[in-house]
Assembly symmetry: C2
Homo-oligomer: 300 residues x 2
């Protein structure tokens, strides 16, 4: 529908704060489509990144002053690491227009409510969002407009959020080619803890573990990185500040999933030690079962 | 070299025991090239698998009797799960020709020496091997001749092994397109424990952990399997008997790597609990460093 008929822009003046992989992908999409925002303003705390955004022509305006960046906007999307939300919001909050829709793309959602709601001015609509899309690359050069195609975007508007504001953000993501889901922030955080955050934690850890091995074994690890380990390093190649902030801002859910996982890993280790073949077979079979379910749901 | 000029077959009569992913890939390669064996004999303990091997025309002879399968052969390759080596060798040992080269494709190598050497007849040359290749699929239909192309094959001949026998197995793998490495069995087992066996153990575990979650979260896990979790399930989709046997036959090295990994995961979890940002950044950075090393070594 949106692709058949020319649609009116959803926002008169949209500001994207943070021009990394996600922010620059969204900027490219906005520029390519023309029906998301009439004017696109970009801001990043790094002068180098803003310079690069200008060179890449990612926005109509690249504004080094965050207050001026959000002024007069009817839409603002935070694309900074979740640990920077409170500081960013402290600077911009007083300058958000009444009626403005404030959204984000962070991977943790309870922390977003915690950091943004207390600072939210009357009449500004908060619609937190999480596009479940990414690559192992980061920065303004890494983005591309098709990043969100056929990916999930989870919105976690607090109860009572203005329905029209939710619909504008929803329509933005629909025009990005994404599939939408609405859930509460706590449920979101639990799911991403096991689906994404724990796998990343494990991947970072196994790389450290390998890196600590005696020189001879470590050299061989690099030479013989079979598919198992290699897949883990792909996950582990992600942005440092982003993942640090994700871990710190989804602490409860992540630690719960880590505890469950550790118990299960220890149980499998114990079965290996004592030669309990049936227990081991059961665990392997369940891995296959989960894989099959994913394939049936076209997620793999 | 082997591909430019027609070469004489390395084996007069080669027997492959076990017609799964690896065995059937090797069989296809032998049949396609013609310069590995003049006659290819296949055996599997499953009548169904042998029937399928006949339908697929994977060998010159498909022989249901393992003794008759190895008789008169100058090469025998075990492609059965490593837990079946002792039983298989007990049946065939007395029927191996003097001068015969006995090899295998198992993922654990100390266990191979433990299970085969005591039963090895005088004059039979044992050259254990491990092609580091595989897919998430199994069985005679899953194999393909190019599986070993540009993959590592690690040989672990015990000290004093006949050099000509090692060279015949080496040349077989060269003709398969693989790159060879020779090391001792203990060093091999340590490397594969961290590079392959622990990642599989972790992948099976995280699938079980997810499978145990409350229904609502579990449904969402399947729906939102982002790249992290999805990559893990690919690893977890492997053959049950093969992986059970690998875990049980690389117990020491695997449990050591699991213990190191668990300590490291707990340390990272503790840093998340106490908000130790620097420690977390260090771990993430090391993941990226290992990834970069792999890319420089063209392993990723």
């Amino acid at each position: 529908m949106a692709e058949d008929a020319p649609a009116a822009p959803l926002f008169r003046r949209l500001c994207i704060i943070g021009i990394g992989l996600i922010g620059s992908s969204l900027a490219r999409l906005v520029r390519e489509r023309g029906d998301i925002a009439a004017t696109l303003v970009l801001h990043d705390r790094s002068a180098d990144v803003m310079e690069r955004a200008r060179e890449l022509n990612l926005g109509d305006v690249v504004e080094p002053n965050p207050v001026r960046a959000v002024e007069h906007c009817d839409g603002v999307i935070l694309c900074v690491p979740v640990g920077a939300y409170h500081a960013t919001m402290s600077v911009i909050a007083a300058h958000l227009l009444p009626g403005c829709v404030l959204s984000d793309v962070g991977s943790t959602k309870s922390s977003v409510l915690r950091d943004l709601v207390p600072l939210l001015p009357e009449g500004v609509h908060l619609v937190p969002g999480h596009p479940m899309a990414g690559t192992e690359f980061s920065g303004p050069d890494a983005g591309f407009a098709a990043l969100f195609r056929e990916r999930w975007v989870i919105l976690t508007p607090p109860p009572g959020t203005d329905a029209a504001a939710v619909e504008r953000i929803s329509e933005m993501w629909r025009r990005a080619g994404a599939t939408l889901e609405v859930m509460d922030a706590a449920a979101h955080d639990k799911v991403v803890a096991i689906v994404s955050h724990l796998p990343h934690m494990i991947a970072f850890t196994i790389c450290s573990t390998a890196d600590d091995l005696a020189q001879e074994t470590r050299d061989n690890v690099l030479r013989f990185a079979a598919s198992g380990f290699r897949d883990f390093t792909r996950i582990a190649a992600s942005d440092v500040a982003m993942w640090r902030d994700i871990f710190l801002n989804n602490r409860e859910a992540l630690l719960e999933m880590l505890a469950r996982f550790t118990e299960d890993a220890q149980a499998l280790g114990r079965a290996v030690r004592w030669g309990e073949a049936e227990f081991i077979e059961d665990r392997i079979s369940r891995g296959r079962k989960v894989r099959r379910s994913l394939i049936e749901m076209k997620q793999a």
